[in-house]
């Protein structure tokens, strides 16, 4: 049994808070890139959000995009350089709020890209405002009485929504809140990259992830929040696989 830092993950400290799920997801993406032997031809597109410094952490080419635009940038790269492996890495604000149009249309076109969607039910970087995926009743700085009291609507379920389209080839929701979930998440991320290598089209993996800082919870409580609250609203599973 070996468990080592993947080559695609730079040996630097990250700026993420203690117990933040982004670090786990970064490692899983890096492990998959290592295992598939695609590091030299992989190009990542980074979001605006806590993962904005992805280029400091991943040992492959990374382009930082305007907020919400990674799927549009990835579309351009993949169409010009079809032999490259192109992925986006996005938070829920980036992917489902300001970038909702880019997400839906890239999925609908069936672009041959891999989307890693980190759903932590809040805007992390900017200090904890409501995200499209914030749960009903959940506190945030912009829903101080809990989401839903002032006509904010309910959480957007990205996998369910995209599964109504013909374009996507693979949609799965996973989590990183238990070791078993982490293993399952890695399998899904691997599949999402394999699909692109096989030319199958748009693959998206939604990862339920912890944001202890803006949830105002301890790392342990944040794991419980994912397991007990988020998983009931956002059921794990495969929503499309063809």
């Amino acid at each position: 049994m070996e468990f080592r830092r993947p080559k695609t993950l730079k040996n630097v400290l990250t700026h993420y808070c203690p117990g933040c799920g982004h670090g786990i997801v970064h490692r899983l993406v890096a492990e998959v890139i290592d295992e598939l032997g695609i590091r030299e031809r992989t190009i990542g597109t980074a979001p605006v959000g806590c993962a904005v410094l992805l280029y400091d952490y991943m040992n492959c080419d990374i382009i930082e995009c305007a907020h919400g635009r990674p799927p549009a940038v990835a579309t351009g790269i993949k169409r010009v350089l079809p032999d490259r492996i192109v992925f986006t890495y996005q938070g829920d604000g980036d992917l489902a709020a300001i970038g909702a149009a880019e997400t839906i249309h890239a999925a609908n076109r069936g672009e041959n890209i891999t989307v890693i969607f980190v759903n932590n039910a809040i805007y992390g970087m900017t200090g904890g405002q409501m995200a499209p995926t914030t749960l009903m009743g959940q506190w945030s700085t912009t829903t101080p009485a809990g989401r839903g009291k002032l006509g904010e609507g309910g959480p957007i379920k990205v996998c369910e929504m995209l599964s109504a389209l013909d374009g996507p080839c693979y949609l799965e929701r996973v989590a990183v809140s238990t070791p078993k979930d982490v293993l399952r998440a890695k399998k899904a991320i691997r599949k999402a990259f394999e699909n692109q290598i096989a030319g199958k089209g748009f693959s998206l993996v939604e990862v339920l992830s912890m944001c202890p800082t803006d949830w105002k919870l301890s790392p342990k409580e944040a794991v419980d929040f994912v397991n007990e609250k988020m998983k009931t609203v956002f059921p794990l599973g495969v929503f499309k696989d063809r």
Partner: protein, 81 residues
């Protein structure tokens, strides 16, 4: 023999490894590392089963396991920059 290593300088003391270790074999230090974080410490190396659950839950790559073959004890990640 496999070897497990905890890199104190990479650890932020979140304690997710403590939660998931099936042997309850990890604790958080009272000291702080150079970045001001408490850090995870293996309690008893002899009780470790090298299951790597702690490493998989770690957001900061602060835990590595070496299988001891091929002279691969060399630290790939190790010291934080």
């Amino acid at each position: 023999m496999p070897q497990i290593r905890f890199y104190a300088e990479h650890c932020k003391g979140c304690g997710l490894c403590v939660l998931v270790c099936p042997c309850q074999n990890i604790r958080i230090s009272e000291d702080l590392n150079e970045h001001g974080h408490p850090f995870a410490v293996l309690v008893d190396p002899a009780r470790c089963t090298y299951c790597a659950m702690c490493g998989r839950m770690c957001p900061d790559m602060a835990i590595e396991i070496f299988d001891g073959k091929n002279g691969s004890k060399e630290n790939s990640g190790g010291a934080a920059k």
